[in-house]
């Protein structure tokens, strides 16, 4: 039965993807992207990837929709002229597709417990998470500690994206801090009663959910990145309701930059602390007398760092785009 569910979702996904590429109106394409992203997230859940499903929904349906819409409201939503060299492109694509499909011959059977993926490195994680960290969520254990260096890299990828957008959008002809934006740009949805009441009611709950996801990440699906995205989404909701300027009053730009840099520094500092206490970089077991406690403490701290950076970067990017509307 679940097989049928999977096939149904994937087929819908393919149909949506074709529609996205064919859509002339970019706004429509972005809406369909949201649907595609939810379909992918649902497929991930069917494949037992709860954390990834959560991230994909927060990123694909939430953050990326907001970003694309902000960009579209500055640029334009119509796509002119269709495509260049469609036939050559189609040929290249078909050739590549054949290679990909060829590559799936002779692969291990889907879901085979004997496949290398399940028999080589993974069982070690599944077995040792309990022993070394005593936390239920293995994804968090691998993400935070066993492969914590990758996650450090991930935080800096987010940071560099934030730096990049701030850098790009703090120059050029559209940047003019002296000029005040037109009145409609700063009003938000303030004059619409129902969205405002419903939205304001929900903001505290969204923040609460964000904090829950942040600190519950060791026990259930979630963690710093998802929490950061959700908290950022709550602030963005506030900005949509009350106008971007008012959101900036709550969390001014320097605070956001402090958040993004501070989170990255916190993560790095935990790693360096590992060196100072006599271990290797990102070795959390030396952080407390008991190595299990040390691991838990380390993961908690770095997840907090991830959450801070992600919140800071997403909000900075949102405000940078919003400031360009005029």
């Amino acid at each position: 039965m679940t097989v049928l569910f999977g096939i149904f979702l994937l087929t819908l996904l393919l149909i949506t993807a074709v529609a996205i590429v064919r859509a002339r109106n970019l706004f429509v394409a972005v809406m369909l992207m949201g649907i595609a992203s939810l379909l992918i997230a649902a497929s991930f859940l069917l494949l037992d990837a709860a954390d990834v499903a959560l991230t994909e929904a927060a990123v694909g349906a939430g953050v990326s929709t907001v970003l694309f819409l902000s960009a579209l409201s500055i640029t334009s939503e119509r796509e002119r002229a269709s495509s260049s060299r469609p036939l050559i492109s189609l040929a290249v694509v078909t050739a590549a597709a054949l290679i990909v499909i060829y590559s799936t011959f002779d692969k291990p059977r889907f879901g085979d417990p004997e496949a290398p993926v399940h028999s080589h490195v993974s069982p070690w994680y599944i077995e040792k998470t309990e022993e070394y960290m005593e936390i239920p969520n293995m994804v968090t254990a691998v993400l935070g500690s066993f492969r914590g260096y990758d996650t450090l890299g991930e935080v800096f990828v987010v940071l560099v994206a934030g730096i990049g957008v701030l850098f790009l959008l703090s120059g050029g002809p559209g940047f003019d801090s002296g000029k005040s934006p037109p009145p409609w740009a700063k009003a938000g949805l303030r004059h619409y009663l129902i969205p405002r009441v419903a939205g304001r009611l929900l903001i505290p709950f969204i923040l609460l959910l964000g904090l829950y996801i942040q600190f519950h990440g060791e026990y259930g699906p979630g963690g710093g990145f998802q929490a950061g995205a959700i908290i950022a989404a709550a602030v963005i909701l506030y900005a949509l309701l009350e106008g971007e300027q008012n959101a900036l009053k709550v969390l001014p730009r320097p605070v956001l930059i402090g958040l993004m840099a501070g989170g990255a520094i916190l993560y790095g500092a935990v790693g360096v602390l590992g060196i100072l206490m006599g271990g290797n970089f990102l070795d959390y077991s030396v952080l407390a007398a008991d190595s299990v406690k040390g691991q838990q403490r380390g993961i908690l701290l770095i997840e907090a760092g991830v959450g801070m950076t992600v919140t800071g970067v997403l909000l900075s990017i949102f405000h940078s785009f919003a400031a360009r509307r005029r």
Binding site: M1, T2, F5, F8, L9, L12, I15, T16, A19, N25, F27, V28, M31, L32, G34, I35, L38, L39, A41, A42, L45, L46, A50, A53, L54, A57, A58, A61, G62, T65, V66, L69, L72, S73, E77, P182, W184, A185, G188, L189, Y192, P195, G199, L202, F205, I206, L209, Y212, I213, H216, G220, P221, Q226, I230, A233, A234, I236, L237, L240, R325
Partner: protein
């Protein structure tokens, strides 16, 4: 017996939700107006929330309801982003219309 019946119900609900999702996708692709598509996307989000809730029980992992909650709230914010987009677009059209005159 009771468990089997519950599982049957879960499957039935999932199936019904999937069909509704399919219908929402059809509306989102066919349009014809932007508002149809926005509504379809919103409806699709709601159905995903339902689907995930049922699947969480079907898999015997009710702790995944956290996830469902997140989906619901994200979906809500998505709609607001779209509304704001429409508002700005309308305001800008008005602006440029006046400038053109």
């Amino acid at each position: 017996m009771a468990e089997q019946r519950a599982e049957f119900m879960y499957y039935a609900v999932t199936l019904a939700t999937l069909v509704t999702m399919g219908l929402a996708v059809v509306r989102a692709i066919l349009g014809p107006t932007l508002y149809d598509r926005v509504l379809a996307m919103n409806m699709f989000g709601t159905k995903t929330v339902l689907l995930l809730a049922v699947v969480a029980f079907l898999f015997g992992r009710p702790d995944f309801l956290d996830l469902v909650l997140t989906y619901a709230l994200i979906n809500f914010i998505g709609v607001f982003a779209v509304l704001e987009f429409f508002r700005i677009r309308a305001a800008r059209r008005q602006d440029s219309g006046e400038a053109g005159r």
